[in-house]
Symmetry: C2
Subunit: 240 residues, 2 copies
Amino acid sequence: MPALLKRIAFEVNGSLLEETNTITSESTDGHYISLRPLLHPTKEQTAFPFEWAFAGTNKDITVSKVSEDTVKEDFLFGFDSNKYLHIPNQHEGPVETYWKTIHNGVREETGEIFPMGKAQPGVKFMEMWQPIDFSKQDLVITDGSVTKGRSVTLKIDTAEYFGLIIVVGQWIQGFLSKKGQHSTEGLSFIRAFETSQGTVNTLVKYGSDFSKFPTLFDALSVGTVVDANGASWETLEAHY
Amino acid sequence: MPALLKRIAFEVNGSLLEETNTITSESTDGHYISLRPLLHPTKEQTAFPFEWAFAGTNKDITVSKVSEDTVKEDFLFGFDSNKYLHIPNQHEGPVETYWKTIHNGVREETGEIFPMGKAQPGVKFMEMWQPIDFSKQDLVITDGSVTKGRSVTLKIDTAEYFGLIIVVGQWIQGFLSKKGQHSTEGLSFIRAFETSQGTVNTLVKYGSDFSKFPTLFDALSVGTVVDANGASWETLEAHY
């Protein structure tokens, strides 16, 4: 089932913070994207106003049930903006996380990252996620029990580009990276809301290849190729 | 400034949970009410489907600034449903809490209660609060920066009744208790949303004296007395 999750708070080293407007899309088939734009970027950060962004298909994540209310998710990160940008102090290998869902639908994610490699002490973190109503543009708190909704995923993996775009309900999130560039100029991101009338309200717009994101997500089938200004996206998933 | 806060999660003894749909109203003048109805009451709980409810005027709370992002709030509880119902294992004396606001407006409340008295070890807790848009009936996530809004508080303190009702924006929350009764039959609660057309959508309705809550909150002045089916409420605060 598709879900749209708003990060409410992030805790690291015992300190609670939230410097971003982070939203994660989870598709019905298990593909995912998390965009983490900064709430108040500094002057230096305006060139790339993101804390992080990552995405992957269901091949880039391993999910296993731990107990009635908890699942383990090992993130393999098909795409990781830090890795793309060769930023140091990132995790090494898959990030093992535990997701506990409490009665109001809120999910508590806990895990540990190993910026210096697994031989060195790790850094524990907690992230609190609030399911939001993916049919509305306002960030409306829900209990996550609505399981019906459009779930469409397209992928691009050509000589020039690597990208993923996921549509959950009316919410669109995607990334597009130029292969081999490894600088912020090679990255594009989209977060948008499609109204019931079909108008797309862009909420996050970043990158020189922004026009190469697809914009029409209806009447697709698995395998359908969509062209967006020369970029060829393949439909991985299309649930309506 | 008025605020409406939705509790996202509650942590006690290291365990995260949320069994309620808790919303707290804070008025401009510092009066407060917190209604904590159970999400999934058991058969035994249906007679009184609340975890807790409390309220107070600004005389029943002491607020002091601790640092740039943190205030200390000592709750004295003008009204406390547990105390009213003579339920054991409640706090003794004021509850000292620390409220840290992070960049997205979310507030982390931490504190300790002493159910066995202060001579015995206390129980630490954490509550995570999300500011919500008090102009909308959907629980819309905001960063808490909207400071303008209707803030109206009425109090009743007669031979028969003790109660408080607070209106923040379009949201109404109130309690009414019969003096000396000390059973659930003596308690009434209201949570409601008033649309811009003036229709009142009742969200929580409890108690045999429900009809004794006032329903009109416009054009009041401090001191104005409002009658609600024989119950006389006095306006403590009226900001429009």
